[in-house]
Amino acid sequence: MSETLTIFEKGAPGRRAFACPELDVPHVDGLLPDALRRAQEPRLPEVSEPELVRHYVNLSKKNFDLDSGFYPLGSCTMKHNPRLHERVAALPGHARLHPLQSPARAQGALELMWNLERALAEIAGLPHVSLQPSAGSHGELAGVLLTRAFHADRGDTRTKVLTPDTAHGTNPATVTMAGYEVVKLGTNPDGGIDLDDLRAKADEDVACLMLTNPNTLGVFDHNIEEIAEIVHGVGATVYYDGANLNAIMGISRPGDMGFDIVHFNLHKSFTQPHGGGGPGSGPIAVADHIEPFLPRPVITRDQDGRFDLDDDRPKSIGKLRGFQGNYGCFVRSYAYIRSLGAEGLKDASETAVLNANYLLARLKALGVADKLPLAFGELCMHEFVLSGAPMKRDLQIRTLDLAKRLLDHGFHPPTVYFPLLVDEALLIEPTETETRETLDAFAEAIADILREAKEDPSIAREAPHTTPVRRLDEAGAAKRPVIRQALD
């Protein structure tokens, strides 16, 4: 097999795909002073269109993707992405609509956004929505900035934000960016928040508690009402990280649990394709007392059903980004919600939880549990965490080895080494769009790998064996970073 080449190493001088339009206006010299001009052209690739297509199609074949196989990456909700959504998002009325088109000539887009806001508000159980944030972590930043604005408006200065030790890394990172100090909360033996620790740390300096429920252990914190009461008792807000919303749509609502602010990941529960690392979209829903601070503009609807954008929001935290957010994602998620409807969304969450529990039970039935025990509880919500510690001790293969060997079986591995408090963690989220046969096959593959490791652990330790490349030197890459193609 030939050496891997980048697009910059292919082609030949003068080769091209683009045909520039002829100059159709009189040529004028000296429009740009030499001092402002580029002297050397950027060394972009020089390839024909067939070469361009072939290069990227061949690259695509080195990717594993959700359309090809099972992708049980925990907390990422890799559910099927319906193709209808791509078709409707590509309609020129959506795809070629300029973000600064006057609202009177963008009524369809504003109505779509309005309808999506109303649907998300209903799902969250909180009345007001802003679609603006670009991704989950951007929604978190919005949420913590809203909290800051809410306290500041009351003349209240607070310094700390509570996050459990099971939290996604984006939570503490967001807290720092928003100018607060992170205070970590412990986890109780059931996998929920340690209430004594919470009571000890919840004081008048606390601005907010950030929580995922069900959390990253797949555990629904059954003390949630009491948690919200404690936090509200010191005047702080309760923030819901919506990464795991796929477990509870139509079943339980963050607003009813006592949360004040919620973010959604449209690229998780609401089928925006992940795109290999984005785009995403991270709308937020909030309670009445947070509403005055929402990002501007907000969408309004008058008595005649006309939609507009209202930028005159004196208490708003401002804008988080340009324009109105990732509209293309709104189109897809709105199409999803309209396809499924109320019953369908609930059914999706129920099936997601059923599938996770079924996979967990299959693994137990295959005798895997003594090597990969469930970290917390007996049942799970939409995902569950196994600990690979006994496997490492008894079979001399680590969670990483198991993950890499799964690649040879044609599966994307679960999330590994997260959450941090579980030793050798495997976080498994099958989603509702997988069949029982797929879940069975995945469970069998794990059992096979454990059996194989008992005979010869080196096979897993050296895995993968069948992928386009094998284990890569990540330490070397970080030590001597080469992050661009060298050109002569």
Binding site: T6, F8, V28, L31, R38, A39, E41, L44, P45, V53, S60, F64, D67, Y71, M78, V88, L91, G93, H94, A95, L97, H98, P99, L100, G108, S134, A135, G136, S137, V144, G169, F220, H222, I251, S252, G277, G278, P279, K319, F323, Q324, N326, G328, R338, L345, Y358, A361, M381, K404, H412, T415, P468, R470, R471, L472, D473, A477, P481, V482, Q485
Partner: protein
């Protein structure tokens, strides 16, 4: 399945985990589901109520531009292998996406003449805010000096985030269409952590980027330039102007307008800031057999490793849109970007000359422009725009929507899709609209 789980019903799984008090006792109040063709019809009906760039001859830009998106971009973005994977956490089965990131980083590096690029951030305005945050963690200085030539949404996004970490935003106004050099120099001091300008600026004017950067040389400030990527075929790149961090909106590189997103933001810097960069970075390495490969690298900057000490909270960024960006730049190619820039330079100049020849229209500034320019109308701008739109032309952006100082300003953008004939038509229609608003029927004998 329930037998395998050992429960009597699906209900039991939930009953055993979620307290009754927080269970929703009724169905969600949402419309019932619809079959695929009905959803399509509904979404199509909504699309039909929008006036898109397909429905009118548009000269609207102001941050997003109606450049042509080649068919190869759509084809590659729709491939399952690029569309449906997650962030490449397992490099052995993600070499396609990782190599795309590496190639994208190379293309952005070439475009900006800066050695370091990440694999994308959300979009342009929030990239400006992210650059200010990089400066904050790099030098800890509170003051952020920003030109009013920077996109209003970027200035707003900066203000939204900067206050939380103690950043003090100071705006410097424009003079003759470009950043007021004296005010700019006067605003920069030893407490200044970042200075930020746009190239070309919001009024379309080409700034003297090197001079703006030079003015900050004796301060601790990180010099940030917010660049429009298309004109970089002809404009001196930030890396040759003393800029430390170049960011910008990537939409015009192969991404659709999409009513504002998703697109991507680019983020490039000098070597000194490599370990302070936000977001994913792909790096080259070898596998155990010595084969060339790519991985996500320098991850100790990132939230999933470093948590509260991370350089940013960004996780999901814009990988698919960045793919469109590098495919587009490869499609344009080395000469193509320059030829496109030259074409826009000539057509934009032609359009400015043609419009300012109209009675009641004059140039808002005389600075060099590449693909966008500003004029003043001696007539109510909103009314002129409405008249033009009724005639099938969107003449541009009313500057008064964002700038109190330019209530009479109109910002006009030219792309390769707007020919001389289109510009001539704009000239006729705008001329008639301005005349009609200046001399309403019956106002004089």
């Amino acid at each position: 399945m329930l037998d395998a789980i050992g429960v009597g019903s699906l209900q039991e799984i939930f009953d055993r985990q979620i307290p009754a008090a927080v269970r929703l006792a009724r169905p969600l109040d949402l419309p019932a589901g619809m079959p695929e063709h009905e959803v399509y019809a509904h979404l199509r009906a909504l699309a039909a109520r929008n006036t898109s760039a397909e429905d009118e001859l548009t000269f609207l830009g102001a941050g997003m531009y109606d450049h042509y998106v080649p068919a190869v971009v759509d084809m590659l973005m729709e491939r399952s292998e690029f569309l449906t994977p997650y962030t490449p956490y397992q490099p052995e089965i993600s070499q396609g996406g990782l190599q795309v990131m590496f190639e994208y980083q190379t293309a952005i590096s070439e475009l900006t003449a800066l050695p370091v690029s990440n694999a994308s951030v959300y979009e342009g305005p929030s990239a400006v805010a992210a650059a200010a945050y990089l400066a904050r963690i790099a030098n800890g200085k509170p003051k952020i000096v920003i030109s009013r030539g920077v996109h209003p949404h970027a200035r707003a996004a900066l203000r939204t985030t900067a206050g939380a970490y103690g950043g003090e935003v100071v705006e410097v106004g424009l003079r003759d269409g470009v950043t007021d050099a004296d005010a700019w120099a006067g605003a920069i001091d030893q407490d200044t952590g970042a200075v930020i300008f746009a190239q070309p600026n919001f009024l379309g004017a080409v700034e003297d980027a090197a001079a703006l950067a030079q003015a900050a040389k004796d301060s601790p400030a990180v010099v940030v330039g917010s660049y429009d990527p298309i004109p970089l075929g002809v404009l001196k790149p930030p890396g040759e102007c003393g800029v430390d961090v170049a960011v910008g909106e990537g939409q015009s590189l192969g991404n659709r307008l999409d009513f504002g997103g998703p697109s991507f933001g680019f983020f490039a810097a000098t070597e000194a800031y490599l370990r302070r960069m936000p977001g994913r970075i792909a790096g080259e390495t070898r596998d155990v057999d010595g084969k060339r490969g790519f991985v996500l690298t320098l991850q100790t900057r990132e939230q999933h490793i470093r948590r509260e000490k991370a350089t940013s909270n960004i996780c999901t960024a814009q990988a698919l849109n960045a793919l469109a960006g590098v495919v587009y730049l490869s499609w344009l190619g080395r000469r193509g970007l320059v030829e496109l820039g030259e074409l826009l330079l000539q057509r934009t100049h032609y359009a400015r000359s043609a419009l300012t020849a109209i009675d009641g229209v004059e140039a808002l500034h005389e600075q060099p422009v590449v693909r966008e320019f500003a004029v003043r109308l001696d007539a109510p701008v909103d009314k002129v725009i409405a008249r033009c739109q009724d005639a099938g032309i969107n003449p541009g952006f009313a500057l008064g929507r964002e700038y109190d100082e330019y209530p009479d300003g109109l910002l006009v953008a030219i792309t390769e899709q707007r020919s001389k004939a289109d510009i001539d038509r704009l000239t006729d229609v705008l001329g008639a609209a301005v005349a009609a608003e200046r001399h309403p029927a019956g106002a004089h004998a």
